[in-house]
């Protein structure tokens, strides 16, 4: 029997409380990979958020443009007032009141929409102008009732500012200062009130008059005058990629193996296609956005290979190739038909560089979300516009294939590709109107990636593309 005993808790606490053991070395690689994933995921979430925010903003702006035509647009295009004077008509105050009421009511749809802008004292909102213009037209009618010199049909008078209108009003009708003061103080209220007050004001004016007439007002609702603003366009493009042609590493090992030629990388031509939605924001300007599939291809001949660290994969023999767009990690695809020179098992785990006669194809696919603006220089049957824009490009595919004499022997991907890159583009769009709604377009466009496609800081992979974009656009309404 022993005297000194330890209780079980203590036994474990003392032995295991500060127990340490070195974890396997691959764990840190796994943790790093997961951290990268999280960071990429975060980036993707951010891009998604920004995309959604941009879409909401675009929708809001579109709505705003539709419901708030520009200042000049209303008096010039949307309001037409004709006063027909019936000099011999009944002079009853009731009749004139009805007429003026109609003016007020017709001015209202704009007034309500714009009442939120009425804080801007210096800039007269369009609706105020239209209401005031309507009133001006009517006052010429009042003048006619009081006087006789005006023509039968008076045209709408336009004023660039409220002040100008008030000055005119004052000088023409010698209205009291009280009236102009009243209009000035009322402008911060909604125009509805202005219109109503104008109505009562007019009644007073008419009550003092001795002659009468009728006024007819035609007013085009601006909401109905936005036809042809929206359009959609399907486009397809031939893409000529212009990328670095040579890989400096090639010549290094060329000398020691004279039977092989030096490694050479060329950019391949591809096709892109997508759908765009356009919104006309002015007479000449169209803003477009949509989704476009875009591909970048590179081919490297006589590729130099190096055995990769076998821990990078357990599936087959692995190797690396270095291209201008980054390192490509490849694994073996089957054994059949493989040339002995390119048997990847010869390279497994070695750090020896090996020149081969294999061909390496790298394909990198993006979904592009462009935001473009087209300024129409000529808007006729054949129209010409300048296009410029920026795009967010989201990486959706990254594949590399190694082949020898047309037989695929290895596959993998280009490492360190960024999940999101940005690009800019400029082009000249020539369109031909097939019908009023359908336009066929051809657009030579130059696209340049703004940031490097590779996250490896020592690699600057910013391809530029020459595109010939053909499209068919359809305008709504």
């Amino acid at each position: 029997m022993l005297n000194e005993n330890k209780d079980i808790d203590q036994l474990f606490r003392e032995n295991l409380g500060d127990f340490e053991k070195t974890p396997p070395s691959f764990l840190w690689n796994k943790i790093q990979a997961r951290l990268d994933e999280k960071q990429n995921g975060l980036r993707f979430t951010m891009v998604k958020t920004v995309g959604i925010a941009a879409a909401i903003l675009l929708a809001f702006l579109a709505g705003w443009w539709m419901t708030n035509p520009t200042d000049k647009a209303i008096p010039q295009n949307n309001v037409a007032i004709q006063n027909t004077i019936n000099s011999g008509a009944d002079t009853s105050a009731n009749k004139t009141t009805d007429t003026v009421e109609m003016l007020s009511v017709n001015a209202n749809p704009v007034a309500q929409v714009n009442s939120k802008n009425s804080q801007k004292v210096d800039e007269t909102p369009a609706s105020n102008l239209s209401a005031l213009a309507a009133f001006a037209a009517n006052t010429s009618f009042i003048n006619k009732m009081n006087d006789k010199a005006e023509p039968k049909t008076s045209e709408l008078e336009l004023f660039n500012s409220e002040k100008e209108f008030l000055n005119k009003l004052q000088s023409k009708f010698k209205l009291s200062k009280k009236l102009t003061d009243w209009v000035t103080t009322s402008k911060n209220d909604s125009t509805t009130n202005v219109a109503l007050n104008l109505k009562s004001l007019n009644i007073n004016q008419f009550n003092n008059s001795s002659s009468g007439g009728t006024t007819s007002v035609s007013y085009n609702n601006p909401l109905k005058n936005t036809s042809g603003r929206w359009s959609i366009k399907a486009e397809i493009a031939s893409v000529f990629n212009c990328q670095p042609q040579n890989n400096s590493q090639g010549s290094l090992f060329f000398n020691s193996t004279p039977n092989y030629q030096s490694q050479k990388t060329t950019a391949g031509n591809t096709v892109s296609a997508g759908m765009m939605a356009g919104y006309k924001v002015g007479k000449h300007l169209v803003v477009k956005s949509g989704l476009v599939y875009n591909k970048i291809r590179q081919t490297t001949n006589n590729v130099i290979l190096m055995g990769a660290n076998p821990t990078t994969n357990n599936l087959g023999y692995a190797m690396n190739a270095t291209t201008p767009s980054g390192q490509v990690i490849l694994t073996q695809k089957g054994n059949s038909g493989m040339n002995a020179d390119l048997n990847l098992s010869n390279l497994a785990g070695t750090s020896t560089l090996y020149t081969s006669n294999g061909e390496l194809n790298q394909n990198i696919d993006f979904i592009e979300i462009p935001l473009q603006a087209t300024y129409k220089l000529i808007s006729k049957k054949v129209n010409v516009g300048l296009t410029g824009g920026i795009s967010t490009n989201i990486l959706i595919g990254n594949k590399a294939n190694l082949s020898e004499n047309g037989t695929g022997i290895g596959g993998g991907e280009t490492s360190n590709m960024r999940s999101v890159v940005y690009s800019g583009a400029v082009g000249v769009e020539v369109g031909y109107e097939i019908t009023n709604r359908i336009v066929f377009t051809v657009e030579p466009r130059l696209k340049q990636y703004i940031n490097s496609l590779s996250s490896n800081k020592s690699i600057s992979f910013k391809p530029s593309q020459m595109q010939v974009v053909t499209g068919l656009s359809y305008s709504f309404n």
Binding site: M1, E4, L11, N15, L16, D18, P23, W28, Q39
Partner: protein, 187 residues
């Protein structure tokens, strides 16, 4: 020796080099913690990975109040507990022989390695392993354990005593003891 504060701040800004430094500094200790809470090294590796990911994602929330090692250790323990709660299924605990008033010889004890004890603790049913670790090694009270594991205090206590009993039995079985001191009961 690393400048911990600076390393932590760099980690918070996503500096991979600092993250590597921090990992290298604490990985062994934290792996030790994870091993105690896991049934085998594979589970411990998973927990260590999850725990470190969490450490790096939350490191900007570390307020430099108290020990950073303690903070990390709590994250590792919580990671193990969460996984336990997620996979928490009722497990049958077979009746077992319990040795009461066991006294293990001092010489025997000194010959037991930490590795041996770890193996024994890893063989405990998961709930017992959690409770025993939390109580005996981490120093939590039954009240705290009940909260952490979403069980009641009584369960925590009975789990602890069963865990102790099993551990005792295994220590005795594997490392020997004086037969006279053993009484056998069924529970």
């Amino acid at each position: 020796m690393i400048n911990l504060e600076e390393t932590i701040q760099k980690c918070a800004s996503g500096d991979r080099k600092a993250q590597t430094t921090l990992y290298n500094h604490f990985a062994s200790k934290m792996y030790g913690v994870c091993l105690r809470y896991s049934k085998d090294s594979a589970e411990a590796e998973d927990n260590l990975q999850d725990g470190f990911i969490r450490v790096f994602l939350k490191i900007d929330q570390f307020g430099f109040k108290g020990s950073f090692e303690g903070w990390m250790r709590r994250i590792m323990v919580n990671t193990a507990l969460e996984k336990f709660r997620k996979n928490n299924h009722l497990f049958a605990v077979e009746d077992m022989v319990v040795y009461e008033n066991v006294q293990v010889a001092e010489e025997t004890i000194s010959s037991i390695s930490a590795g041996d004890l770890l193996k024994i603790i890893q063989e405990l049913p998961p709930r017992y392993r959690m409770v025993f670790n939390l109580y005996a090694i981490e120093g939590y009270s039954h009240q705290e354990i009940a909260k952490l594991m979403n069980i009641n205090e009584g369960t925590s206590k009975s789990n602890l005593s069963r865990a102790r009993a099993i551990l005792q039995k295994k220590v005795i079985d594997e490392f020997g003891l004086e037969k006279n001191t053993v009484t056998t009961t069924l529970c």
